[in-house]
Amino acid sequence: MTTNAKLTRRLILQAGAASAALGAPGLLLAQPKPIKIGLVHPVSGGLAYSGSQGRLGCQMAIDAINAAGGIKSMGGAKLEAALADSQSRPEVGVSEVERLQQDGVSAYVGCFASAIALAATQAAAKYNTPFLIDVGVSDLIVDRGLKNVFRLAPGFGKCVDDAIVALGEVNKAAGGVAKTAVLVHEESEFGTGTAKLLAGKLPSINVQVAEVIKHANPTRDFSNVALRIKSLKPDLVIMSNYQNEYVLLARTMHQQKVDVAAMFSVLGGGFNYKLVKEQPQVAQHMMDFNHWFNPRDPKAIDMKKKVEATGNLFTFEVYCGWNSVMVYADALERAKSADKEKAIAALESSSWSNHFMPYGQTKFVNGQNTGGRAALLQASATDIEVVWPNQFGSTKAVFPRPKLS
């Protein structure tokens, strides 16, 4: 027994020395520390669906980066998701940022809703931790001079500007049939801000605003709103609201047979594949100006298939989340460090282009990517098509849409 024990000890020592000298130096060196990214999304409460879609996109990106060998300039350091639920409430978003800070996150990605993003980014700014906004369209998010905040997708200012150009071009091509519009928007920062910008810019394309109708969240019945719109006889109805109210309003307008040249939305919360699938007659010919992938990019089609294979829809939250993680990973690769100052500097000088969006290279000015833009979409009976800008378009717009009555 003693002999065996001595032999065993000797064998262990020999094996250790041999592996150190020859075979496995990597085993003895410390693995690079994983880089934690805080994913702050509303995965419960009223915005749960959008939040969970955003989280899905981020996690897919993290998995893809890790599967490809992690951050190579940092010795293959892996990314690690630190999950947080803002519960669709700004104050919870702030407390989740604080909690994740204690957990040692190197950056945050979130927050879907502007109100949550405004509060959460402010909290992260105290620690100078980079915060990538995947979705959150209020321009206030990037206009407050916070050095840690970066947004890849366009905000509502840019979206409204481009939507006005797109609508103007589509209307002009149809002989300028649309001359008046009614705006219907939800009451929070997103809807109110978007509607205010639209009301100011529509006259520039010869569309006069007949009325602006603000509604509460939740609104249980839009019958009176539909009747009011019907009595005003506008050529366009332009909506800015979240998913539930978007669907309810669209259905009521369809049922009340409100005939307009277009039901148009900017960043319409309920304009997605589910609406087309569940309410094809309601959705058909509806137009939305929103974050969208480039339908001509094979990478986008590939990712769409991957997402749909998981039983989920390929909504904009998914690829906005994906892109935000990817642009941060690119910054880490160039900074060769997760140090917050260095990562922020790398993001500021980012010229990332390995995306599948209708964007150019990234160029952040005061945290906003000036290369980002949204697209004009229109629902057919079975799908959603890009109808503007033309170089990414998959079909031509049906405008004015056929009459319902």
């Binding site: 419960s44 603000k214 709103v225 049922q255 589910k274 829809l313």
Partner: protein
Amino acid sequence: MDLTILGAAAINGLLIGGIYTLVASGLTLIYGVLHIINFAHGSLLMLGMFGVYYLLMKLGIDPYMSLLIMVPAMYLLGYLLYKLLIGRLSQGKDENILLITLGLSILIENLALMFFKGDTRTISVSYSDTMVELGPTLVSLPKIISFGAAMALCAVLGLFIQRTDTGKAIRAVAKERVGARLVGIDVDRIFAISFGIGLATLGAAACLLMPIFYVSPTTGHVFVMVAFTVVVLGGMGSFLGAVIGGLIVGLTESFGGLFLGESLGQIGISLIFILILLFRPSGLFGAKR
């Protein structure tokens, strides 16, 4: 203001009021008669609506045909919930029931989030867009059906409570629990039956709501505050009160939206709630204590 629009607003207010009555009728039985503050009312409605959604999507069963499944299923769920959970854990204390139903509501919502995901779902059936001309406005057929059904449901529940032995036992338990026990009424069973009936009405409400509304794990929140307002306004335990309360709340919301704007219109509902609590806590048709 144009009389046509006022007339249309009145019709829309009455119809949405009918929907509120529908959701509140179960609550008035549970909350009003048995004094159980059921915080899970909204979550259970949502659960019922998902049931109707999947019955259509997976088995192709029309929402109105689903009444035959959902009403007994929800009754059974309510009965068992009371027998196995609420009754056992409450130990006869009302504050315990409040906490149990609150916990239940959080549990149901989060389970719904886990299993159904957070997105908004709607259904499309052949009659979804069938419109009926009602005076100055077009009204969808499912809305008229749900209005009629709400009125019928309250009438049936009212008759059930007034005329049947079980109804009398429910009233006896509500008035004097100890006395009811002394005359041989199984109080626990009556509680379970009442809870079951309350949930059965939610099952009916779910079937009638799905063709006109959407469902997501948070849909219950959309209706629960209104349902409590209707019950308080109408008088706890009064089905006639639920009808009148529902219609008043619907009209208030509709005209509030018309005159104050859709954003501020809902203030009226909260205002009614506060005023009723201040000046007539027993409600319009509730018995004074």
